[in-house]
Symmetry: C2
């Protein structure tokens, strides 16, 4: 079947450009000849903001819409006030393209160092809501900078938004061997949002009688993530709790250098976007120390999303094999890791 | 110096009653004869709510005000809708008594099992804001239970509330040997609240030139808590982030069975309240399996707060000594642990 992929590439800031080029290298190496890959690079991030004051112009958003998918490196730089690029670019993309499933798998691969003792088994997926909650940007401040300042942040949650992500999580749980779904929230304190989440979770659950469910408060969930991570199969949670839990999940499964994510619009109305969970790491940008594996695993999620299942599996297997040899191989540069994985997937 | 302590005791639900009686046992054993201890028990929690529909009547709140301090066990029961007792009783106390410093020390004591590999050194204190943020209960839902439902939660943050807790944290950091203070927030997304916190943190910091400071996003903070907990000395953070981080901190320092907390009103206008970080654990209530150590360490915080520094130290030393022997002693009941610690502090 001849087909083509029209990919938008947003390298972004810091190590973003470095890891994205390795991701593209592996993507090119794994694709069969009959799949034509076209890429278009978008200059978005700190450099552009400094030059033009723009974060994500409407015209660029419009052009991005035409792509089959987006590969993003990382956004953010200390020279830009905190929040400007995150809200104006990264979150704008997630919201504008209705990426309501922020998919973040966590697996402890063999031979990967973990800070946890006792070699726990870890293999779960976090389905983080991506378009609502405390991330909506609905807040403000009054008498800013004075001793009478009041600042608010509003978490917005809708039945529409909660139900669709909860349903997606049930589907994913139902398709996995263990068929277990955990809702994480804080419904003993955030009672309004919490009840919407819990009621939706219970109601939709009736349509999935084979899925075992449980509920954890977010604070308790962090305890289980370090004490008994094997209990988790699929987790569904709100945007902010998902942000926190997936960084912790990355830490226990070998670190942020390996954590992949997909910002998915399951309806296909808009392009989905794939990016490593890590940030732009300005402290190591340009040193060749960045591990491109998280981006390369995000490429596997991208391939999966585009229906190229065999290719996705090849990328994952290459990473597993590479991790097996890491201890023996010693320190490699960003480029060397990318090369090694490109060789593996084409072999 | 002859003096007396007029202590309110709220055993609460589940294991709350069991651990509180051990806390009182140790408190009685450690106090010198010239300190007179009066206790008054308050019947608040699930039983009362079922019997009368009351969570915390105004009259009880008024009576509680007269005490020097409050010792609380745990609040919450599955027979009561989630949030009713948490909001109506526990949070009502924290808010009514202006417990703006929610103090949660984390130390990995020798011989304590931790899920982390490599015996990390852990000794930090979280100063969690206790009277603002997403905990204010300012939310609602519209078209509840319909497909058009919208639910909100508002995080309220004031310069007044942020500055006083930040200042308290600087004082604590300044009094510790390492003099390091970390602000944890999420100011790249929650920009309004985040900027209030960050600006206040920076401004107050100018008065404490000897304190080294840094800032972490909450997601990154969870990574460091498992990868490099030794980097932390004092952490100051918002109510919800503090809730999450202190459960994780408890998990890495031997579990929730050891984590103590003080809800402190530093002005002394209202009684401060001391409670274990853990909940009512209905699954093990009545089995004698509850570890009263967290409550007993909360008693140490109470003694400290009341200026009984030597007694506080005796309780902490007793716990350290007891932990040393735990592995050898095998399983003990709630009561046996309480007895052992009472013997140690009076010895
Ligand atoms: C950079 C930041 C806005 C982002 C988030 O909070 O979602 C990041 O932490 C992530 O998890 O993708
Ligand atoms: C029971 C709950 C309301 C409480 C909180 O969220 O503060 C608890 O988790 C805690 O940390 O003391």
């Amino acid at each position: 079947m001849a087909r083509s992929i029209n990919l938008a590439v947003i390298p972004g800031d810091g190590i973003g450009t470095e890891v994205v080029s390795q991701g593209l290298k592996v993507l090119r190496a794994v694709l069969p000849q009959e799949v034509k890959l076209e890429t278009e690079e978008y200059d978005l991030g700190a450099r552009r903001w400094h030059a033009t004051g723009e974060t994500l112009p409407d015209s660029e958003l419009e052009r991005l819409k035409a792509h089959d998918a987006i590969l993003l490196g990382a956004i953010g730089d200390p020279s830009v006030p905190s929040g400007v690029l995150e809200r104006g670019l990264l979150l704008r993309l997630r919201f504008a393209f209705d990426h309501f499933v922020n998919l973040r798998p966590s697996r402890l691969l063999p031979n990967t160092p973990t800070p946890l003792a006792g070699d726990p088994e870890i293999d779960f997926v976090v389905v983080r809501e991506g378009t609502e909650g405390p991330y909506v940007g609905n807040g403000g401040s009054l008498r800013t900078g004075t001793p009478a300042e009041v600042a608010t942040e509003v978490s917005l949650n809708t039945a529409h938004g909660v139900e669709r992500v909860v349903r997606d999580a049930y589907e994913r749980a139902n398709a996995r061997p263990r068929k277990k779904l955990t809702l994480v929230h804080k419904n003993n304190v955030l009672v309004y949002a919490g009840h919407l989440w819990k009621n939706t979770f219970d109601r939709v659950g009736r349509e999935y009688p084979e899925v075992t469910t449980d509920y954890l408060h977010v604070d308790a969930a962090t305890i289980f993530l370090v004490n008994d991570p094997a209990r988790f199969d699929v987790i569904v949670t709100d945007n902010l709790f998902g942000d926190i839990l997936t960084d912790l999940a990355a830490a226990i499964t070998g670190g942020i250098g390996l954590a992949a994510s997909g910002n998915i619009n399951p309806t296909g109305e808009f392009p989905s976007m794939f990016e490593p969970v890590h940030g732009s790491a300005p402290d190591i940008a340009g040193t060749g120390k960045a591990d491109p594996t998280a981006t390369i695993l995000s490429v596997a999620l991208l391939l999966q999303h585009l229906g190229l299942t065999a290719e996705a599996a090849r990328v994952e297997e290459a990473v597993t094999a590479d991790l097996h040899e890491r201890a023996a191989l010693g320190t490699r540069t960003t480029d060397e890791i990318g090369d090694a994985l490109a060789v593996r997937v084409s072999g």
